[in-house]
Amino acid sequence: MRAEKKVLVGNERGIHGRIATRLAAIAASHGVRLFLGHNQETVECSSILDVLSLALTRGTVIDLMAEGPRAERALSVAAEIITAQDDACHDQPE
């Protein structure tokens, strides 16, 4: 299964280390492959360095894609973390 949507980066400091770390954790815990696309470049969230080097700052619109049996669910959790304006209140139990 494959799901995708466009999301707006909400965090004041962009997609920084903590968010990139969480995205990797979401992909692992949902058993899906999660990708971020921006400006014709697409990276997989399993590589935190790839994600960081896209330098996604606040206000950037990115393509978020998930592949795998629980793609829809992973996509919505990831989208929420990316659009949230702060880090603190979004710890998912998974």
Binding site: L8, E12, I15, H16, A20, A55, G59, Q85, D86
Partner: protein
């Protein structure tokens, strides 16, 4: 960054360095300077049959580094959540394909040793990160380097032991610490940190604060100016570092540390006493809080009310903005718990950009505000999104019957804003009355004085509100044009700037001329040097973190109001902040020897 502010003592010796104080506390100790050369064995060519062994050696070092990080993670207490997340991101970096696969690829295709291949992979990553415009993300390369250094160390057979092994207390000095370094220090004899890099939000700062150890960051060349074994005094509050202190100065710091420990016990006895001076002049000491979870602390430390409840959290806890009932539940709990003491609830104080990022709608354009501090925020946002504002006002008034409510309007800069708010309040009250909701008679509506225009026009404003609350953090930022989070100008953020002190005085006088009370809620309120001056200026209420209330109360109960007024008068005559500090350092210990540890 070092500030240009280096005092000199004698022709050549720099005695004082100034950085950014990021975790309060004063400590005198010898330093251990960590100059960590990255261990990089040179290049050597491998024979074909050694290549897979070299790949294994590298994979083993990566595995061992991962084990170290995991075991460190396990040892950490649960309340260091920030630190845990840093370790998790380091674990991901350690296993990242850009680091691991790339290094193994280089070993295999170029027939070279692991150290050289890793250095190559690292420099490729650095090249990519150097192209990033965003400073915060670009600086994450420092984390990648910490991770790689750990692998380099293991490749060279170095076992990572504790950073400081001596028995004496030490202050660690380094260019920068990896978060793991900072964490390993918690058990030992490390009493403070000093780094060349970093700002108030750096990892060192976050971890130092959670460990309760003093730390100063942003002192250029600290690792060359200091040598292991040098004795220094480090003040994690002011950011000041004294090199080669006199024995008397060291003695004073150690004595004050000892008394701090005794004081902590003694303070408990002040919790239930009235907050007034020896001659019966009362100042209300209240708390700044943002969640209901803090209420037990508020009660435990003897707070006489809530001077500032930051109402933002309810708005960011859920997927949608809160409804009236949710807000009312919070306010009702707050008022009922604190009754009969007053509870000051500040209406939503956020930037529009933050709000719409949280609840994206068709207003995402606000993301591009060039100057959020001067943008659509606080009361301006409430008057722009009036439905949200009405909802909060309705909840406030409906809760008002459960205690003593004071509504505080943030960032008021023009009388027209107050009139707009009044009109909305009247509509809300009419509507509540029509629907049969009871509302308390004695709800007070006041404003934050935190913009210079509000100070200049304080006499006009005072006639239109029931109280003033001076917000010094923003008032200082707006009047001195300083962003405290910016390491290049943070040293200019100065509560004792005479302009700030005069503005506070002006607001107090204007308020009292109209018979309205004036409170102050900013970090100044809980500062033992500032608090007596503020009391002397006639503030009716000081609002601070609950835990420091007993300390300020103890101070107040040893003061005389006429002496405080005299000191405040003298302070207001000073032409610059250094004069103010000298004056206070001279006058306060003389008047209150026990409070300033010089008796």
């Amino acid at each position: 960054m070092t500030s240009p502010n280096k005092e000199t003592n004698g022709p050549s010796s720099i005695r004082t360095l100034r950085g950014i104080g990021v975790s309060p506390g004063i400590v005198a100790a010898t330093v251990v300077v960590l100059k960590r050369q990255t261990l990089r064995a040179g290049w050597y060519h491998l024979p074909e049959d050694h290549i897979e062994k070299e790949v294994e050696r590298f994979a083993g070092a990566v595995q061992a580094a991962g084990d170290e990080l995991l075991s460190l993670r396990e040892k950490l207490a649960g309340d260091l959540a920030d630190a845990l997340s840093i370790i998790d991101s380091h674990l991901l970096m350690l296993r990242d394909r850009m680091l691991v696969e790339r290094t193994i690829g280089i070993i295999r295709y170029k027939n070279v040793n692991a150290e050289w291949a890793l250095a190559q992979a690292l420099s490729d990553i650095k090249e990519r990160f150097d192209q990033i415009d965003d400073v915060y993300i670009r600086e994450r390369f420092a984390d990648i380097k910490h991770v790689a250094d750990r692998v380099f160390g293991l490749l060279s057979g170095r076992v990572q032991g504790p950073l400081a092994s001596e028995d004496q207390p030490v202050i660690l000095v380094a260019n920068d610490f990896s978060p793991e370094d900072t964490l390993r220090m918690q058990a030992g004899n490390v009493h403070g940190f000093l780094t060349e890099k970093g700002g108030i939000t750096s990892h060192t700062a976050i971890v130092a604060r959670s460990l309760g150890l003093p730390a100063v960051v942003g002192i250029d060349h600290a690792t060359s100016l200091l040598a292991t074994g040098d004795l220094i005094i480090l003040d994690g509050g002011s950011g000041q570092v004294i090199l080669a202190p006199e024995p008397a100065e060291i003695q004073r710091v150690r004595e004050s540390n000892r008394r701090d420990r005794l004081l902590a016990d003694e303070l408990d006895s002040y919790i239930h006493l009235v907050s007034e001076t020896v001659d019966g002049f009362a100042v209300r000491l209240s708390s700044n809080i943002e969640t209901l979870r803090e209420l037990p602390a508020v009660l435990r430390f003897g707070s006489e009310g809530i001077g500032l409840f930051r109402s933002e959290l309810d708005y960011f806890n859920n997927r949608r903005p809160p409804n009236e009932e949710q807000l009312m539940a919070t306010y009702q709990h707050l008022l009922a718990t604190m009754s009969p003491y007053p509870v000051t609830i500040r209406t939503l104080d956020v930037g529009g950009d933050k709000f719409f990022n949280r609840f994206p709608g068709n207003k995402a354009w606000l993301d591009r505000e060039r100057n959020p501090a001067l943008g659509l925020r606080s009361i301006r946002f409430s008057l722009y999104e009036q439905d949200l504002f009405r909802r909060q006002l309705r909840a406030l008034f409906r809760a008002s019957v459960h205690g003593r409510l004071r509504i505080l309007l943030p960032l008021i800069s023009a009388p027209a804003e107050l009139r707009q708010v009044r009109a909305i309040v009247d509509e809300v009250l009419d509507d509540l009355a029509a629907k049969g909701h009871p509302v308390a008679e004695n709800v007070e509506i006041g404003m934050m004085v935190e913009v210079p225009s509000a100070v200049v026009m304080a006499d006009v404003f005072a006639a239109e509100v029931d109280f003033f609350a001076i917000g010094t953090n923003d008032l200082i930022q707006y009047s001195l044009a300083i962003d405290r989070g910016n390491q290049y100008v943070a040293h200019l953020y100065e509560p004792f700037h005479p302009a700030v002190l005069r503005m506070i005085r002006q607001a107090v006088e204007a308020g009292h001329a109209c018979n309205i009370p004036v409170s102050l809620c900013g970090e100044m309120a809980g500062d033992p040097l500032c608090a007596p001056v503020l009391m002397g200026m006639g503030l009716d209420e000081l609002s601070m973190r609950p835990a420091i209330i007993p300390k300020v109360k103890r101070l107040l109960r040893h003061c005389r109001s006429d002496e405080l007024r005299q000191i405040a008068q003298q302070v207001l005559q000073c032409g610059d902040c250094d004069q103010v500090r000298q004056l206070l350092a001279r006058e306060l210990p003389g008047l209150y020897p026990r409070e300033y540890y010089q008796g």
